[in-house]
């Protein structure tokens, strides 16, 4: 999809703007046919060779001209099918229309009515399986890649607002005299905090790490989501009067119960995230050189291990890296390993590209950067040297079986296809289990058999005045789903305290 230079894309956008102006100068509005004929605006990106060796953001963002052209592609459908694909129901045609009208402040306001972190969602949401999957333009042009690029527009609106220094602070209501504790500063916690603060409640966010943002700071790499952006959003909350207590592990530094019983909180929201990485449970998995993606990425993101001159946290010297998994976490780990100097990085995935849960843009970027994909393969054991360091994987090939009742074709191992392939580093990115810390230290907090906190339709847990949302409820999900749950919980808490 990408490939055109930034200048080329800009020239193309200006030409399109010229054509649009020409139509309008004839005194008529663009017809749907005209709109469908406008070119999809590609994302300007750093060239693959350069970006594979730096940590800078890969996607550089639309120019104003590109944003304008892309906005003109929207048909402003009455039934707005895109909106129903959005977990927080952003008024998509509404904000796109504002871009068209040049009312960029209006566009931000339209988004922020329901999505408080558009600069983040514009970058990391799986648009191709949400809003853009439903877009009429994509359907008419028979290609999902031709849908209106809603995420890129969302990002542009948010980036443009920031560049103008005109960030609107949500209004903070008069002090209610009520206090709410928020556990975890990931997207779920931050969104909840904003909505609670709007109502004038005192909000304290407790975060175990030394920085706010959850997975957005320790998991998703700089080259995909600049940490300065997350910091700006977190600071916005501080400006609204949200208090942060960093390096504070609820359950250990203070029991959840004590927050309610002794510390004067009227309600608690738990947005503790997924935690506890899953392993394959194959022999050799505890050898040196085998990492969970969480560890690998935390070392390089939060602890900045890539900054070898300044960071004290070491990163493993890798030459041949195997990444196990097919989601965003696997893509991030593979691309990070490449940037940290690995000579060859291979992604081992048990199914095929079609089944990969990662954002398709990231898979494309990874391929452009030279990551090699071994589809329909999975390892059976890690082989170590005499010092206990990983030196190879035994790998098995799979074939897709007959479709089952649900139409899904499961991979079946091909007998006798075992082979040994040398790797010095293995990064396991096959998902997370839920972190047991809060449930272990809070006996009456009910969880399901996989450890996810059980909630009702208003996100309330088994304990009165305690709510939960995000990955700790859903299992590893997405930023936007975590935000959606946070907003729902905040609404319930606001009602409870209202």
């Amino acid at each position: 999809m990408s490939g055109a230079s930034k200048e080329g894309l800009e020239r193309q956008a200006r030409e399109a703007l010229g054509r649009i102006a020409a139509i309008r100068s004839e005194g008529r509005e663009l017809s749907p046919r005209d709109r469908l004929a406008l070119p999809v605006q590609d994302m300007p990106c750093q060239v693959p060779q350069a970006r594979a060796a730096n940590m800078l953001e890969v996607a550089e963002g639309y120019s104003e001209a590109q944003a304008k052209v892309e906005a003109e592609r929207c048909l402003d459908c009455k039934n707005a099918p895109c909106v129903s694909g959005c977990p927080v129901r952003v008024d998509i045609p509404g904000f796109i229309k504002k871009i068209r009208e040049g009312d960029y402040v209006g566009a931000t306001r339209a988004i922020k009515r329901t999505n408080l972190l558009p600069s983040i969602c514009g970058r990391v949401c799986p648009q191709e399986s949400q809003c853009q999957a439903n877009c009429t333009v994509g359907k008419s042009l028979k290609s999902i890649d031709a849908a209106v690029q809603i995420g890129r527009l969302e990002r542009w609106v948010a980036d443009n607002e920031r560049a103008c220094g005109a960030c609107d602070l949500p209004d903070v209501g008069n002090s209610s005299g009520k206090r709410v504790a928020v556990v975890g500063s990931g997207p779920a916690g931050l969104t909840t905090a904003i909505d609670l603060r709007r109502e004038g409640h005192e909000v304290v966010v407790y975060e175990a790490f030394q920085k706010t943002g959850g997975v957005m700071v320790y998991g998703i790499p700089e080259f995909r989501l600049p940490k300065s952006l997350v910091a700006i959003e977190s600071n916005l909350l501080a400006e609204m009067g949200v208090l942060y207590q960093l390096n504070f592990l609820v359950g250990r530094t203070r029991k959840l119960r004590s927050l309610l019983a002794e510390d004067g909180f009227d309600a608690v929201f738990i947005g503790a995230g997924a935690g506890l990485p899953k392993f394959m449970e194959m022999p050799g998995e505890n050898l040196v050189g085998v990492f969970s993606a969480n560890e690998y990425l935390t070392r390089s993101n939060l602890m900045k291990a890539y900054d070898r001159d300044r960071a004290a946290t070491p990163i493993y010297p890798s030459r041949r890296v195997a990444v196990l998994g097919g989601g965003n976490v696997a893509m991030d780990s593979a691309r990070m390993a490449l940037r940290l100097g690995a000579e060859e990085v291979r992604v081992l995935y048990r199914r095929t590209r079609e089944e990969m849960p990662a954002r398709s843009e990231e898979v494309g970027h990874a391929m452009e950067e030279g990551i090699i994909f071994d589809f329909l393969t999975s390892p059976t054991r890690v082989i170590g040297d005499k010092d206990g360091r990983a030196e190879a994987l035994e790998i098995l090939s799979y074939a897709l079986g007959e479709p089952d009742a649900s139409g899904r074709r499961s991979p079946v191992a091909i007998k006798g296809s075992e082979r040994v392939v040398p790797f010095d580093t293995v990064i396991v990115a096959i998902g997370n289990e839920s972190n047991p810390l809060l449930s272990r230290t809070t006996p009456d907090l009910k969880v399901d058999k996989r450890g996810h906190i059980l909630v009702d339709g208003a996100q309330k847990t088994s304990i009165d005045r305690v709510y939960a949302g995000g990955d700790i409820v859903l299992g590893a999900a997405t930023v936007i789903l975590a935000m959606g749950e946070g907003r729902r919980a905040a609404a319930a808490i606001n009602e409870l305290l209202g």
Partner: protein
Amino acid sequence: MTRILSKRRLSEEVYRVEVEAPLVARERRAGQFVIVQADDDFAERIPLTIADADPERGAITLVFQTVGASTHALAAKEVGDPITLLGPLGNPTHIERFGKAVCVGGGIGLAPLHPIVKALKEAGNEVVVIAGARTAELLIMQEELKSIADELIVATDDGSAGRKALVTEPLKEICASDRPPDIVVAIGPPIMMKFCAEATRPFGVKTLVSLNTIMIDGTGMCGGCRVSVGGETKFVCVDGPEFDGHLVDWDGMMSRLRSYRKQEEEAHHRCHLDLAAALASETSAAERLAKGAL
């Protein structure tokens, strides 16, 4: 962010600091640890077991040895300087009235042993402490331990204090005596804990060890601290830090601890410090332990 309240150099490489941490001081139990960082941006996260706590003054005591760049950065902090601290982490030691408890501490491990000795004593146990170190100078917490324990046995590699022996020697003697221990707690370098576990195994005495693996978050999120115990993978920060020493895969754990040996050496080089000597003495101690214990 917390502050350093006091700092003492116990020996060439060992420091004892008191850190302001009122909540941790109040909540912590014997056996728990904290994670400290010299600064928020570039420093490594270092797990350190809590050596003592004073809830009234809101302070906890940490004892550490300068082994790498990060512990040196910590040692360079002065009273009043800020540091980042998270805790208390891990499960508290299971304390009950066992009867006779033998607590073995090696070197720096005597610090985390101290609150356990205290708790065991308070629970009504007869507590024998075996304190070991390379040399007299490295024996720490002696006054505190002497005042609590029913008996304090000192063993040094060079005989400069107490017996010239490895800690496993008196441990085996007690196990073989007519009043063997009901429980053994061993904290120290992994090689020492391993050989303590080997020493008690033939006697069938339950032996708890406290593992100090590499850690990042200390909350169960990264799995960097994992170790194989009885054939199952455990996360030291949430499932431990204490485990049955007879079930720990010591060789696996020790090779994981050496994951970054090469980079650490380079980092050390950068600080113009001589790791080689420390490594050499560590290896020779290990060799001596191996010879003495097997």
